[in-house]
């Protein structure tokens, strides 16, 4: 595996165009959180022609619903949730300049195409490694919709937050390519 690439948010189109599948990236700076309920609300606002409570231009959004922080802690356990539940909404945020998404699991064809069109990448963090990932989160505050609890939009400050590029701006997919390399069954099963 190659050396990790350090990136600081906000990301430019040029930053993400340089990334390719399988790249290990250490993210630094501010990232936003949002999962099912926040995405639904954001898209409903856009449908009504309203302005979002946060700007997503140049931003990276992390699909996460952390556990409650213990007293004195920044955050609880904070690993990624399954991304495909956000597939119906993702392109709307890319249209507004979103440069990165962090989650786990495969994305739909429409999302991969939108990434190519708008210049956005999809990163995976290790699913189920919430305690380890929490160590890279240095600040956490609610930016919008505290009523959504764990699903509210948070502003996180991260330091060397470890992710892997799954889908790049050229339509490649690490989940497909990585698997091909180790697939012993292509000829015998299906």
């Amino acid at each position: 595996m190659s050396e990790p690439i350090r990136l600081t948010t906000p990301l430019s189109r040029k930053d993400v165009e340089a990334l390719k599948i399988g790249d290990q990236v250490l993210l630094n700076g501010v990232i936003l959180t949002g999962r099912d309920a926040a995405h639904k609300r954001m898209v409903e606002m856009l449908d009504r022609g309203e302005k979002l409570p946060v700007s997503v231009d140049g931003q990276v959004i992390y699909y996460v619903g952390p556990t409650p922080a213990k007293p004195g802690a920044v955050i609880g356990s904070a690993g990624p949730t399954t991304s495909n539940r956000m597939d119906a909404y993702a392109h709307r945020l890319m249209e507004l300049g979103l440069r990165g998404m962090i989650g786990k699991g495969s994305r739909g064809r429409n999302v991969i195409e939108a990434m190519q069109k708008h210049g956005c990448v999809y990163f995976a963090a290790i699913g189920g490694a919430g305690a380890l990932l929490a160590r890279s989160i240095k600040e956490s505050s609610v930016l919008a919709w505290p009523d959504l609890g764990t699903e509210a939009i948070h502003r996180l400050v991260v330091q060397d937050f470890p992710v892997v590029v799954i889908n790049d701006v050229r339509g490649n997919d690490l989940y497909q390519e990585g698997r091909k390399e180790f697939d012993l069954t292509a000829k015998t099963i299906v």
Partner: protein
């Protein structure tokens, strides 16, 4: 001799099960992940497995949930037929234990109304399965079942003519479809036979068997081995990024079924293979 157990004893025991299941990964899973890392051919796969093991160590050391999805609280309760429970409802006591454990352990509350999606706020109601067994003990097993892997589970009514090969084909096809989504490496719990609900329940119970412990039925042990080999040959690997370690284990339970049927339950467990038990 009838033995009396007060339900007040159940509450703290359940709270502790919820917390320890989420903080402390069982040793069998840790050993299985280490073995996977030794045999993994993908360098990305090795890096992923190392992070998963580091994560488990951090969770135990810092008393933090290993995963932010602290699960649906699922219970298997074996009630000895010589046990007399007093002081209230056992089901209420289990739910009170969940309420306290999820609060005191700073665990995420993930249970909501299926339509309105309004959160119940305390991770109740728990899902409780009871068995009445000989003896005067009360054994409570708690599994914290995450949503991502549960969503990849299924029950299918195969045809008797599908047989052993049809069953293998179905599971391998499902594994190929789920790919990275259930947070591999996973444990594949399989229930064969019974009926619609029995197959699902057996599949879930099968997961509870410690990894590395052989199925006592030699035919099922051979079937487990074959499914393990075939699913790992898909190349999906840890977190679906490519590699050898997709499944840590395949666990099967079997039950006789109707002459017209061949029910199959497949319950998927992510690498955060969280379950603990207590005997009162």
């Amino acid at each position: 001799m009838v033995r009396t157990i007060h339900v007040d004893e159940v509450v703290p025991a359940v709270a502790e099960l919820c917390i320890s299941a989420n903080y402390d990964l069982n040793e069998d899973t840790i050993q299985s992940l280490k073995q996977g890392m030794e045999h993994e051919e993908s360098s990305t796969g090795v890096a992923v497995l190392r992070q998963i093991l580091d994560n488990a160590a951090i969770a135990t050391e810092e008393r933090l949930p290993m995963c932010q999805d602290t699960g649906t609280a699922v219970f298997f309760v074996e009630v000895g037929q010589d046990v007399h429970l007093e002081g209230g409802s056992l089901y209420d006591a289990i739910n009170e234990g969940v309420r306290q454990g999820y609060k005191e352990g700073y665990l995420r509350k993930s249970i909501c109304d299926p339509f309105t999606r309004k959160n119940t706020g305390d991770n109740t109601p728990a899902i409780v399965h009871y068995d009445v067994v000989p003896g005067d003990r009360l054994k409570i097993t708690m599994a914290a079942k995450g949503g991502g892997s549960e969503n990849m589970s299924s029950v299918v009514m195969l045809k008797p003519s599908d047989g052993r090969q049809g069953l293998i084909n179905y599971i391998v096809k499902r594994a190929a479809e789920m790919g990275p989504n259930p947070c591999p490496p996973i444990v594949i719990g399989i229930g064969i036979g019974g009926n619609f609900e029995k197959a699902a329940l057996l599949a879930k119970k099968a997961i509870l068997r410690p990894l590395g412990e052989k199925n006592p039925d030699p035919e099922l042990a051979a079937l487990e081995e074959e499914i393990l080999k075939k699913t790992n040959a898909l190349g999906i690997g840890p977190q679906g990024m490519g590699g050898r370690t997709f499944a840590l284990g395949v666990h099967i339970l079997k039950h006789p079924c109707h002459i017209a049927s061949m029910p199959l339950g497949v319950n998927i467990q992510c690498h955060a293979n969280r379950h603990k038990d207590v005997v009162l």
